[in-house]
Symmetry: C2
Subunit: 244 residues, 2 copies
Amino acid sequence: MSITTDCADCPLRKMKLFLPFTPEELEFMRHFKTGEVTVPRGATILSQGERSATLYTVLSGLGTRSVMLEDGRRQVINFAFPGDFLGLQAGIMGEMRHTVNAITPMTLCAFSRDRVWELFQNQPARAYDLTWIAAVEEHFLGETIVTLGQRDATERMAWAYVRIWRRLSAVGLAKNDGVPLPFRQHDLADALGMSLVHTNRVVAALRRAGLATWSNGWLQLHNLAALSALAGIPMEKEEQRPIM
Amino acid sequence: MSITTDCADCPLRKMKLFLPFTPEELEFMRHFKTGEVTVPRGATILSQGERSATLYTVLSGLGTRSVMLEDGRRQVINFAFPGDFLGLQAGIMGEMRHTVNAITPMTLCAFSRDRVWELFQNQPARAYDLTWIAAVEEHFLGETIVTLGQRDATERMAWAYVRIWRRLSAVGLAKNDGVPLPFRQHDLADALGMSLVHTNRVVAALRRAGLATWSNGWLQLHNLAALSALAGIPMEKEEQRPIM
DNA sequence: CGACCTGTTGAACCAACTCAATTTAGGTGG
DNA sequence: CCACCTAAATTGAGTTGGTTCAACAGGTCG
């Protein structure tokens, strides 16, 4: 908990993906934040069933949110990107319904679950933002359901590429026509409901088609328009959202 | 808008599925509610892309929340049951990302989008509940993703049966070992990401196996334990949630 | 160096899909 | 009250997208 980022200097908050704070909100958040946590690659940040006393906002690093079934099958519900809020379920409903793992080392802003209520009592604008964050999450999960329910393997992969690429670009991680994508093919397979083998073949097919290259933890999209069309993603402008 | 239900007499709120109101909350909601709407079978309640000025809580009737793709494919994201809140996305994010349709005639409590902010300013407990509702929804969408991503057709159908049966039972719609299920097989197919033909075969298989009978708009589960096991649904107690 | 993790490729198989036709159940008009 | 019409449910048959099984290559690390 040594050296922590002062919210005033938060590099994320300044990105245009996120809504700005008012000075009052900034001041409040500086005290609402209880500390900063750094976890290594592979760490479990929140566990299914756990009543975590701490909630987080991702400052840096990437992770997965997943559910394990009894028989060993795993579904990756979503990824955790910088700016994402982790633990709403623990904070509001009591216990987590999925597990959050760090895929890379991650830095997290920590908040106390017990003080969430304080937010609703004293900071209506921040409480509103928390609900907004939940609504945005709900929207993305709905999109994922559409993808798993209606799209074939190639469309799914294109969809995942474009979604990930957009999001990572929006938080400033794009460099020379690419973004870091440190997940294993296995993770994408579990996120898209496909077998590992088939995931590998689709990745290869998109590469051979000249649409996208994903190798050595780096994703390059060579034809964003074609991929977006394939994925059925409209060219909507990137909307702003709140950040905790 | 003629005769509307006074929140004090709301039949839903008294069900043990939902958390009780305090007297103050009750009083507030009586004025927060702007009216009641009845829509016929087939009506569109909220449309994808719409910035609806009205938000709803389902008082009675069943509906679907779905997304249409350009090429005509449709994914049913979720169903709308009595007690569900409709329009959070319009209320918080601006516009709806999916469409809500009435499958049966529905009665809806109406709220004004413009007064949502009032909730956050003056009724922190109710604002908290709204976030809770969003978190619960998020949880269910996550479960759906798990089902679409990992389970085969039979497991999916069993999962849908048990989920629907539990929810409708919890709002008092069960009669003699069954619940009303007025959806078409087509709706279930679009919800589970399966073809209509295959959905039909799975329905028939579950019937022949003596596990569940769904016909004439009525669903009977003959072996809840076996279906739950097949669906991978733990026998967790039905948890309480807030209602708007 | 050996063990392990991740990615890659071939081959056989099957769950679910598409196409197509038929039955059933309501609903309407003469 | 019956003939007709349409929406929904069913069933058969052939096809296929994606799976499973299995083997192997390249890197990394103790």
